[in-house]
Amino acid sequence: MIAAHLPALQIAVPLIAAPICLLLRRESLAWAWATFISWVVFALAWMMLEKTLTGGAFNYELGGWEAPWGIEYQVDAVNAFILLIVAAIGAIVMPYARASVNREIPEHKRGLFYTAYLLCLTGLLGITITGDAFNVFVFLEVSSLSSYALIAMGRDPKALTAAFQYLIMGTIGATFILIGIGLMYQMTGTLNMADLAKRLPAVEDSRPVLAAFAFFIVGVCLKLALFPLHLWLPNAYAYAPSVVTAFLAATATKVSVYVLYRFVFTIFGQSFSFDVIPLESILLVLSLAGIFAASTVAIFQTNVKRLLAYSSVAQIGYIMLGVALVTVAGLTASILHIFNHAIMKGALFLCMGAVYYQIGSVKIEDMNGIGKKMPFTMFAFVIAGLGLIGVPLTVGFISKWYLITAVLERGWWPVAVLILLSSLLAVIYIWRVVEAAYFKSGDDEVVVEEAPLSMLIPIYVLTGASVYFGIETSLPVETAAEAARQLLGIGG
């Protein structure tokens, strides 16, 4: 019974849980409920990935309405993997959240916070699971609206303007996506993805389809923060509550990348996207520019959360570079990096949340000598930071290795050199934090304690994962390779 309705439960559980969370009123109950739901969602996502990896892709007709009239959920290796990433990050972040939220968010808003979080989770999962183009837009709005609210709850007054900026940019992006979907519907009369994929080739030379593609790509690139459409991201990440930053950084942009995969490869098809439209060169140039520009800007940040946010923009560049290669190896590297980056960036932002919890700031100059005062937190930061640089035996190395091999396979030697050079920029920005934490002495008078265990354990789960999956690579690599083959329609 449960097995048959897994896709529906994946969305229904958090969606129904959200209003219940609002009714619970007591902060501790709301947190316990949200944590419980996150774990249930994680278990469901895990079962679904198992099912797709063993039994192949499957469909689910919502309410028994047959597609293309009804809404259909389609689960294959690609989105089952993304679902698992989103759900896992939620499940890891929630136990951490309580201490952090109690410190950063006023009491009367805490219930609302967990409600908004559950809605955001629902939205992100919904975008990923659905097989219906319009449904993508609906869930996109669910996740976006709830994330505007979550970001605005940040303690810094700048959080409000950051949320507003994100709201404006996010709405433009969502509108563009809607225009794109609308034009597709106009030309084909369907919103079902599989159906769209079948009908689009017949009309692909028409101007509305070209316009649909253009609107859609720009809209989705805004949401996934591809350079230079990333302007909303640094402030939103820097001023949002710590938990929100960690959760969104590890999931939100990644889900948007998934939407891009789905539309570019499954719906429009590789030949249209890359032969008719010069998407390859556009993505190649923008991702490389993004990697270098954002990494360079990251070096000059004084707020570590902002620094990591710019680093995220750069990492999106690596993910999109893999897409620009249009090969199985390239897409594998791209999907792999979604997974790996979620782990590393999640860990890094959680570390910063722990620092903020203890010293009330994440500015580099306030972190002088903190390596001695919070040894466990900062050790985790160093390990996850090494991953971001791409040091061997961490997940970051595996990503870079696959990406560079894929680039060499296309014969793009200069790009391989650029990728390695960009790692050096990561060395600099990570090392600035390390230097402050370990090699500058802070004020010894101020007593700073190590973060509580409820924070350290989630931090170490993610940090441990960043090392574990850097050594035992089979699960993410094989799943990513399978997902890449399915996207390109090669093999089964």
Partner: protein, 490 residues
């Protein structure tokens, strides 16, 4: 004990030592005992590998496969064994020296110092025994990371600046060049295993192979080939034991060791001899030898002078590798050992002078031989060994390198070696002359007082100085082991 267990133990023993050192942080005597015991155990373990390797065996172990064809694996062959033997043996001596030095110099954070030192030695063992380029690269990077806190040990602004240069050049070259070369090698050949005769022959075009050679040689920043040499003088801000063991032996030798290893086991000497850019790299090594010798003459700070001397001497080994002959590889390998003993003696002496008299500049060292006769005698022995004069071990490696140059028909290189010996006389011996034949500065009342460094330090530096002489008298075991590198496998 089987070889594979000894390999793993050699990696783990220093790390277990770290736990002991940190555990005994409140009892300095116990802590230093732990260091000494660890170092001794390590040397015994490494020495236990000597018998199987001399018998033609290649103890090996494969730990785990990260990606298909990309595994963490170890294999002991003669070249790695020479390197591991020297590093682990000199660790014992350096530890003895360090106890005297660090206490007399009232250094802070001594626990951190000994702990990172042990980590550095563990990664040195990883480099020495690496069975493939991927494993070597991992330990190469760990070595950089673990020595960074040692370079910045004093925590001053100068130390931090030095640390940045150190870290920037070593990480920068290894990521931008070496890693790229590794990925390209893996991409074209499908393996990174060190194999007798090389793995690249016939697998890639001449252009790609030439490019790879450049990337590898420049990617090994630890070999300090110009123009990537500046990290070494910068690292001289570290406490003297670090300069002595790490920046005269472990770290820099890890660099030239890697170049020898790549030449023999990735390219193979036959392929290497046919690569056009090899000639260019050989001349660059020759230029590095001469230019850094000239820079060394102009340094007044003793440690900086020794650092530039090291840069010059390291390029001897690069030169040996780039001659692409068997004699060149043997000479290069022997020079790793000879230079290690000579240079560590010189650094020990520089540190002893600093501790006893607080002098760092050569111009302040007039007449110091009368107050510190043992130290300055040892200095002179070490200096003669670096110069390559008999009766010191340094003679043999220069001899072999000269033979190799003749064999390869590179007569100009013999000229470079000769000229370099003359230059090294010019920058090393004046210190002895100052010390023994000049009268002390008037401010010392002109009355020499016998004032040596702490006994443990003096014992250590006397020991390595005697080692230089012993290597002159008994070079054969070393030569035999080195010649096994290029001997056909039975």
């Amino acid at each position: 004990m089987t070889g594979s267990i000894a390999i793993i133990a050699a990696l783990l023993v220093p790390l277990i030592g770290v736990l002991g050192i940190v555990g005994a942080r409140h009892k300095p005597n116990l802590r230093e005992t732990v260091t000494l015991v660890t170092a001794t155990c390590l040397f015994i373990l490494v020495a236990s590998l000597l018998t199987p390797v001399l018998a033609g065996g290649r103890p090996s172990i494969s730990l785990l496969e990260v990606l298909p064809g990309l595994s963490i694996a170890f294999e002991v062959e003669p070249l790695g064994l020479v390197f591991a033997l020297i590093a682990s043996f000199l660790w014992i001596v350096t530890s003895v020296y360090a106890i005297g030095y660090m206490r007399a110099h009232h250094e802070k954070n001594q626990t951190r110092f000994y702990a990172y030192f042990a980590v550095a030695l563990s990664s040195t063992m990883g480099i020495a025994f690496a069975g493939n380029m991927f494993t070597l690269f991992i330990f190469y990077e760990i070595l950089t990371l673990s020595t960074y806190p040692l370079v910045t040990h004093s925590g001053t602004a100068e130390a931090k600046r030095g640390g940045r240069t150190y870290f920037g050049i070593l990480i920068g070259t290894s990521v931008a060049f070496q890693l790229l070369a590794i990925i390209i090698t893996y991409f074209t050949v499908g393996t990174l295993d060190f194999t007798q005769g090389g793995i690249l022959a016939g697998k890639a075009s001449d252009v790609v192979i030439s490019l790879l050679l450049l990337l590898y040689v420049f990617g090994v920043g630890k070999a300090a080939l110009m123009p990537f040499h500046r990290w070494l003088p910068a690292a001289m801000v570290a406490p003297t034991p670090v300069s002595a063991l790490l920046h005269a032996v472990a770290v820099v030798k890890a660099g030239v060791f890697t170049i020898l290893k790549i030449s023999v086991y990735i390219f193979g000497l036959d392929l290497l001899a046919d690569i056009g850019v090899r000639e260019f790299l050989m001349w660059l090594a020759a230029a590095t030898i001469l230019i850094s010798s000239i820079i060394a003459i102009r340094q007044d700070n003793l440690k900086r002078r020794l650092a530039y001397s090291t840069i010059s001497q390291l390029s001897y080994i690069i030169l040996g590798a780039m001659l692409a002959t068997e004699a060149g590889v043997i000479g290069g390998t022997m020079h790793i050992a000879m230079h290690a003993f000579g240079k560590i003696t010189l650094f020990f002496c520089a540190g002893a002078i600093l501790v006893a008299t607080h002098k760092t500049e050569i111009s302040q060292m007039r007449g110091i031989g009368r107050t510190m006769p043992i130290t300055m005698t040892a200095y002179t022995i070490g200096a003669l060994s670096i110069i390559g004069a008999p009766p010191m071990g340094g003679l043999w490696s220069k001899w072999m390198l000269g033979m190799a140059a003749l064999e390869a028909g590179e007569v100009a290189m013999i000229g470079v070696l000769m000229l370099s010996s003359l230059l090294s006389i010019g920058y090393l011996l004046p210190v002895s002359i100052y010390a023994f034949f000049n009268t002390p500065d008037p401010q010392n009342d002109g009355k020499p007082v016998f004032k040596e460094a702490p006994a443990l330090s003096v014992a250590a530096l006397s020991f390595t100085a005697l080692g230089c002489i012993a290597l002159f008298l008994f070079p054969d075991p070393l030569h035999h082991l080195a010649s096994l590198i290029v001997a056909p496998v039975n």
